[in-house]
Structure formats: structure tokens, C-alpha cells
Symmetry: C2
Subunit: 220 residues, 2 copies
DNA sequence: CGCGGAGTTGATGATCTTCAAACATGGTGG
DNA sequence: CCACCATGTTTGAAGATCATCAACTCCGCG
């Protein structure tokens, strides 16, 4: 049996602003694992689309508590701002290649009243929808439900691969779900012990969802 | 000394879509305290602007856990959807008067490429920004920080009244902050005991922020 | 191989929730 | 106009979940 994994074939680029993107693309850029792409409160200059790799965007509290807002995977666009400052910090989770385009050229396209405006509304709306369902998760779900929801979200975004390869570590997952890394680890162990989930071979980053139906039932 | 309170003078209507709204307004409508304005998964027909009163929008989990997404106050618009279903339920917290306009007429305005598109992007972006900072609150702040943040948010939205009159009860606040009503009550008691906050007269819904600076320091 | 980051697991503890009871508030009708 | 009642709020005690602290193991990489 052929095993699909989620790294090998580069996924088709499908961001809502793809048309704008490809027309206005400036250049490709590479970020090393862990490096910052832009910082919170910086002035936005570019909009980014991921060619390969993965990115986390997050906010920090003064004492260092971190809330990861979103993970951005291959094909995703991020970094767009209407306002004059970024609302997040963005970092490459692994070595990441992106396409850059100038923010101003996107804004211009919107001003010129083309299809750009509608695409942009859709883009922002999708971010909003994600944030809304994430608020429900953060405000009201248990740790087991959160971790399950995370797995199902990744599964869907990676198009249900046989083996899911997670680019992020347990701390990233924890900071996305409003938990600690230990709690994430324990939840994964429970799901594994219940047979809903299998770690692939030796790696704790490669996992296989054995029973998506049962997982969906856990995620309230 | 003259005491400003936040109910008396009807605030100027200032939603981002106000221009569209006033042009296309259909009619005024009244909702009784506690009544549903629209339900999650319903097809959106109208966009609403609050003339008087207050509205909560929320999502429910199957077992009844509730996450209130936002409170909408006088002048605020809500209920706009790009998609074909509402993503929330909306209920009147107190007796509420709204202006209705047809959703389709807004969409039309956007399609026609007027100023509508830009206003709409701004509107959706502001909702997104609110959701993003609320994710940080829900994922990473303590109960005392959450309640403090709530008070400061309301204070600002009501334009720093001397006496803040909250339309919502403790359970609503709790479901907004991802807490229980008891925890909210305890946090308010702490803030009162520390002298940062005063209950006005007998009512637990009328309160005065005595030391906004100290409150801002608590809200990390 | 061995080193260091990452992950798991266990023990303990803090915060928040749950359960419970008492009290306050504001609207209603006698 | 005031007593009454439903609803809302506070406070306390006990319990659950998740966080913290700690030790150990695993894995990937040089």
C-alpha cells in the first residue's frame, strides 16, 4: 500500500489572494527554523505565502506567556494588515520558503475596485471564522477536547494524510491550545492508549489518526 | 458634580457601515429582554445596528457550554455574514431596539465597488482584531486579569463613564471570559476590596472604576 | 556513539469549578 | 406603597482539572 505523507508533494497554492499574489509576487525568501519573519508592532511591508515549511503567529504578554494564534502551512497566506502595525509576531517553525509581495500593491488592487476587494474580504473573514471557533475551544473545551480538535484541524488541513507529520513541538501546540506542554503530552498519551491514535515508528511528530470518527466524537 | 452615566444620552451611531446603513435602512425593530434575534446556522437576512439596548452573540457546544463571542452595545453593528449561515446566535440582553437593513443590499454595495468594500473590510478586520486579543485572554490570562480586562473594555466602549451600568449578568460575563459566574463574582469582590472598584449604591450592575491605572496594571 | 533538545510520566500544588446556602435586588400585584 | 417572589449575586467548602516541578527516556544529529 502506498503511504501518503504530507511533506512530499508540494501542495497547490490556493490562498484566496493567490491571483493577486502571483501577479504581484516580488521574490522568494528563506527563513531558518526558529527565525522571526516579522514582529508584533512592526510596520507591515509584505504579505507572505508559504511555499514550503510552516509558520506560527503569536502574541506575548509582558511576562512571556504566549498565545499562538494560528499555524500557517504550505499554501497559506499570512501577514496581511490593514492597519499600520502587525498584530502578531511570525516565526518559522521549520526552515520555510515564502513568496513575498508588497502589501501596498495588494491595497492598491483593492482600491482599484477589482476582484481584489472581494478576495480580501473572504480572506479576512476566514481568519475571523477560525478565530471564532478557536475562542470556543479556548474558553470552554477540556484539555482532551482541545488536543483532539487540534489533531482533527491539522488532519483536515493536511488533507487527511495516512501519516501526519507535525512541524511544531509540544510547546507550540500547548501555546496554541492554551495548555502546558505536559498536558498536551498526557492527552496524546490517552488518545494513543485508547487506540484512536498511533505514533508512527519512533517519532513523536509523525502520527496516524486511527479512528477519526471516535476523535470527532471527543471533540464536542 | 454632574455624574455622567452611560444610558441617558443616546450615543451617536458610528458603525463602520453607518453610511451604508442609513442609506439602506429598512425599519426599526424591538426585541424583548432575552429574546433571540437570529440563531446559529440560520440563513442571514438582515444586518443590525443597535439603537438602544445590548446584544450578546455566542456559540454553544452540544452539551450546553456557551462561549459568548462579543457584546454589542449602542451604535454597534452585528449580524453581517459573507457566508450563507450565521455563525452565532444573537440574543437581546435587555430590551433592545435595532435598525435593520437587508444583507443583500450591503453585498450589492460591495459588488458595485463603491466605498462599501473598504468599509466592510474595516468592519471585518475590527471584529478579527477583537477576536485575536480575546484569544490571548482566553488562552493565557488568569481569572483576575480576565475580569479586569473586561471592565476596562467596557469602560472604554462606554467612553469612561463615571458610573458604568452593565446590561449583562454575571453568567454572561463568565461565558464571555471563559469562567464561571462564581469566579467572576469573586474577582469583582477582590477588586472592590482592594479599592480599585466601587459598587454604586445597592446595585451590583452599576459600578465605578476608582483606579483605572491600577486596573490597567493588573490586566497584564 | 554521545550529546542536547524534545517528549513522557509521576508527584504535588494552585487555580478554578462545583455544589450549596444565604442574601440582595428589582419588578409586580395586592 | 409595600410586601413578596423570581432572579441574580455573593460567599464558603470541597473537589477536579490543569499547572508546576522534577526525573527520566527518547530521538535526531553531529
Amino acid at each position: 500500500m502506498l503511504v501518503r505523507i504530507n511533506t512530499a508533494p508540494r501542495m497547490p497554492i490556493d490562498g484566496q489572494l493567490a491571483a493577486l499574489a502571483s501577479e504581484r509576487m516580488l521574490s522568494e525568501f528563506r527563513y531558518r527554523r526558529g527565525s522571526e519573519i516579522f514582529g508584533e508592532r512592526e510596520e507591515p511591508e509584505y504579505v507572505y505565502q508559504i511555499v514550503s515549511g510552516a509558520v506560527r503567529t503569536y502574541k506575548l504578554l509582558p511576562d512571556g506567556r504566549r498565545q499562538i494564534n494560528a499555524f500557517h502551512l504550505v499554501g497559506d497566506m499570512f501577514g496581511f494588515e490593514n492597519e499600520t502595525t502587525h498584530r502578531f509576531t511570525a516565526e518559522a517553525i521549520v526552515e520555510t520558503h515564502v513568496h513575498l509581495m508588497r502589501r501596498t500593491s495588494i491595497l492598491e488592487a483593492v482600491r482599484n475596485g477589482g476582484a481584489g476587494a472581494k478576495d480580501l474580504i473572504k480572506f479576512v473573514t476566514q481568519n475571523l471564522q477560525h478565530a471564532e471557533s478557536h475562542m470556543l475551544l479556548l474558553g470552554r473545551k477540556t484539555s482532551l477536547e482541545r488536543v483532539t480538535a487540534f489533531l482533527l484541524e491539522m488532519d483536515e488541513r493536511l488533507q487527511h494524510p495516512d501519516v501526519m507529520i507535525l512541524p511544531m513541538n509540544r510547546r507550540d501546540i500547548a501555546d496554541y491550545l492554551g495548555l502546558t506542554l505536559e498536558t498536551v503530552s498526557r492527552a496524546l498519551s490517552i488518545l494513543r492508549d485508547e487506540g484512536l491514535l498511533r505514533f508512527d515508528g519512533n517519532s513523536q511528530r509523525r502520527l496516524e489518526l486511527v479512528d477519526r470518527g471516535a476523535l470527532a466524537k471527543i471533540d464536542a
